[in-house]
């Protein structure tokens, strides 16, 4: 079954638009339900974590480069480095690692 990329983009845009707009226009009171509050609190961290691992191993040509990028990124973030710095650092690690591997392989 073939799908149209424009239709995919439209569906994604419609859903993300509704998520952003509906609470702002409809709900005017603070959410009090502790389960929903807790669930919404954890969602971003879980989503980002499961997206990062193990996908970061498959993104570069060599899985080893992905592992090193992950390790260096986590350490830099732990030490308090800013977002853009971490992104650049991860790219640098992959580039260096793969360059070395082509020389020594």
């Amino acid at each position: 079954m073939t799908h149209n990329i424009y239709l995919y983009i439209l569906v994604a845009a419609a859903v993300s638009g509704l998520i952003r707009i509906l609470p702002l226009t409809l709900i005017r009171r603070k959410i009090r339900n502790p389960f929903i509050r807790s669930f919404l609190y954890y969602v971003p961290y879980v989503t980002l974590a499961v997206m990062t691992f193990p996908a970061i191993l498959a993104a570069p040509q060599a899985p080893l480069a992905g592992i090193l990028a992950l390790a260096v990124g986590v350490i830099a973030a732990w030490k308090g480095m800013k977002m853009i710095g971490i992104a650049v650092l991860c790219c640098g690690v992959v580039f260096l690692c793969e360059t070395f591997m082509t020389f020594f392989a």
Binding site: T25, Y45, L48, M51, C90
Partner: protein, 254 residues
Amino acid sequence: MSSNKTAFANGLRDGVPIAAGYFAVAFSLGIVAKKAGLTPFQGFLSSILNHASAGEYAEFTVISAGAPYLEMAFVILITNMRYLLMSCALSQKFDSAARCGHRLLVGFGITDEIFGISVGKPGTLNPFYTYGAMTIALPSWAFGTAMGVVAGNVLPVSLVSALSVALYGMFIAIIIPAAKASRVVGGVVAASFLASFIMSRIPLFDRLSDSMKISLLTVLISGAAALLFPIKEKDEAGDRTDERQEGEVKGHDA
């Protein structure tokens, strides 16, 4: 009128560093978009309409998999769930007399960073401030994506390979400080890494697309965490967005 102009100019100014960061990360997203078969224009369109790093990443995995449209709706709902909370928080920053059109436009412009600077403004939000930030940040995000799709064709493989991890670097930059600040969040992140790895190794789940796995794991792990470790108001104070929300709500009460 002139106060609206000033607010717009302030938003534009505060949006510049956001726009610079967006361009770099969107470039990396564009490489993913290219792998999913998108043209530069489709990457631009997706980013100007959807403008969400994690959400669009998930969007492109759905496109790569050729999954049903309904799955796209579900996946976007889950990966962009945090915007629901931000939208709720912003609703409390609005003058009750604010026109629906302003609520609609500001809602459309919500991203982590634009929400952050908008909700951080003391007092009632002037929507023109948010418009100013959106005007520079969102096109930068969209052009960055389009450039990523183009460069994915032009750049040497080694560079594309290196740039492909920029997006994960950004994700790490969000989850690790939160994990450091809260042992529970740290445990949840570690459990997410482990569960995600196990799921990728079990052949039984091979028929599920990557985006479906992400959504399923998110609902299950977040739900379990919410049941086992319900947050108290003070825990939430560690969260940047809620801290501002709480402060603002108190401001309104006073």
